[in-house]
Symmetry: C2
Subunit: 392 residues, 2 copies
Amino acid sequence: MTTTPTAAPRPPQLAPPGLEGVAVAETEIGDVRGEEGFFHYRGYNAAELASLLSFEQVWHLLIEGELPDPQQLARFREHTSELRSVPEGIAPLLSQIAAGSEFVPLNALRTAVSLAADRLGLRPVLDIGPEEVREQALRMTALAPVLLMGLYRAHQGKPTVEPDPDLGYAAAYLQMLTGQRPLPAHARALEQYLILTMDHGFNASTFTARVITSTGADMGSALVGAIGALSGPLHGGAPSRALQTLDEIGSADRAYDYLRQKVEAGDRLMGFGHRVYKTDDPRSTLLRQVALEMGGEQAQFAQHVEQTALRVLNELKPGRRLYTNVEFYAGVVMNTAGIPREMFTPTFASSRTVGWTAAICEQAAHNRLIRPSAVYVGPTPPVPLPDGYTYG
Amino acid sequence: MTTTPTAAPRPPQLAPPGLEGVAVAETEIGDVRGEEGFFHYRGYNAAELASLLSFEQVWHLLIEGELPDPQQLARFREHTSELRSVPEGIAPLLSQIAAGSEFVPLNALRTAVSLAADRLGLRPVLDIGPEEVREQALRMTALAPVLLMGLYRAHQGKPTVEPDPDLGYAAAYLQMLTGQRPLPAHARALEQYLILTMDHGFNASTFTARVITSTGADMGSALVGAIGALSGPLHGGAPSRALQTLDEIGSADRAYDYLRQKVEAGDRLMGFGHRVYKTDDPRSTLLRQVALEMGGEQAQFAQHVEQTALRVLNELKPGRRLYTNVEFYAGVVMNTAGIPREMFTPTFASSRTVGWTAAICEQAAHNRLIRPSAVYVGPTPPVPLPDGYTYG
């Protein structure tokens, strides 16, 4: 029974920790250039897309590979609106999924997406063609906010609101949340946030979706994995924390002392600094403008806090290149648009579903199993069983 | 609004396709030495462990890092038996999760695990200590087959069978499936299969669990991602396919012609050849012995087909080093033990949960975000918007 290995094969080289800087794929979806404060979708400046175009136009760009012409766009709007219908048998289950003693929307969304993918009969991407994978991508992206709002309203004890087919993705998102047609300015502000967060290079959740897809699994499996990865505190994307800082500061005259004490205590300022951007985050630049255009005291106050924070960081951490990141104004924009804080991260998950599904389509079309290895560093095998150790 | 990037930073080097041979972590859990036909758990020959010890002894080894002494083992058996209890509110939902028109057990398990993790209130691993992560590892591994059998029996229209607290993991697995105490020989045969498949180096589902854990997410998120990855056709672990070959051959005298025609037609023989093993797969060696010891015509027939297949492969593909893999006898063992074919892969998922949770514990204890990059190969940014292209 016992095998006695002789010479071990040469162990693989250990990659840089966390695979940082290791490129595991070629992609045509987009990229982030942190030093330049620039990110793009299929070559187009993403901040410019968010500034000028609609959710559907950019969604089409990411999944279909090109901006739609007016006819394509009309068909795309109609088609994706139809794809919001909830699969049979799911609706009554949403309230039960949301019925836990503590409601964690991302967990509930993870369960609902898993269930919906099963009911839709999504087959392994390995067994279907690229057209069907793209169609599933649209289906799951259109469906995600409907599931999410169904869960949220069930948790609130409120009836489900059917999406209004006349509304685009962003406006319908708010309408399904509140039951009312949103103000156009609110829908547009949210739409800009959603476009800005559809994709952002090769983040951890997108990578997760690719790894799962690489086994040939179905799109539902890849999406539940991605939602799970997004829920991790290290993933980034928690705009509620920056908003909480604003609450704690309370009034403009308290900002400087509060922020200085925080930095002196060694605490991180939420909404500042980014792993990749070493200059202005292009998302924060646009979101600042969007927040200020929406009006309201909170945006003005946020701008005061931002300027104060940058002054404090410059005084106490000169040369550290800490700039405002996407989280700082994202919370202000979503809050002003009427989204409750516990739904901030799920809103991010909804828009990022566009990026995840684009990555799944690309991975499925050029697939190869992603299967790295590890270096074993434990006791040298074969370790003998302890003397007299028997079945028990 | 428009940013015009100038010189792009040096793109990262593209890693070998699929990260093959790239080591992304150090591990003390185990390793595979394909050239030697050897794999181990924490240094111990895994085939020897399966041959001599119980599921609980090896489970303890993988999670706690050492083989239990008799007192530790008694406590571990009692504790993990208690951890089989289904969280409140889940049981009535299992039948609804299983109620789709097509029952895909792994999909249903993915949904049920997501729901159970939520109900158990599993917090992000980043926010809890290693003791709590290990406790969750035991909880989810103990619970997985209870959920699975609840789903399966609900789909069959049968009532749930509570696990018998006097039975160990393997015997209770069969008892929850059939409602009857299994023959000791069947429980022991299944136990050996389960031990052999708890872990196997850095496979794609284990890597998925690590990537999700690296964001600091909760164990439920990592497990649903791993189940999703396991469901992919490229992951491996579909013993039903080898059994189907036996069915198609039907009788011993037809084996040679059938197999020769199959290989000549360029088809792959299910149950032969492995990505890593270039000699006897140590799992197939033990499972052959287990199958023959269980008795029955199928094992004898399978051995005849195996010998014939190896002869055919040697005649038609000399020097290709195609050996019997784990799948060939796994199906015979599970079938003889009374497991229906559609539950073969979910049975593999159940035992592999030990390896997944061991990997999650290790990743959480030495965490760093796993976030590789990609090389952008699309049109050079910034691509200008088409002339006159406006919001629509």
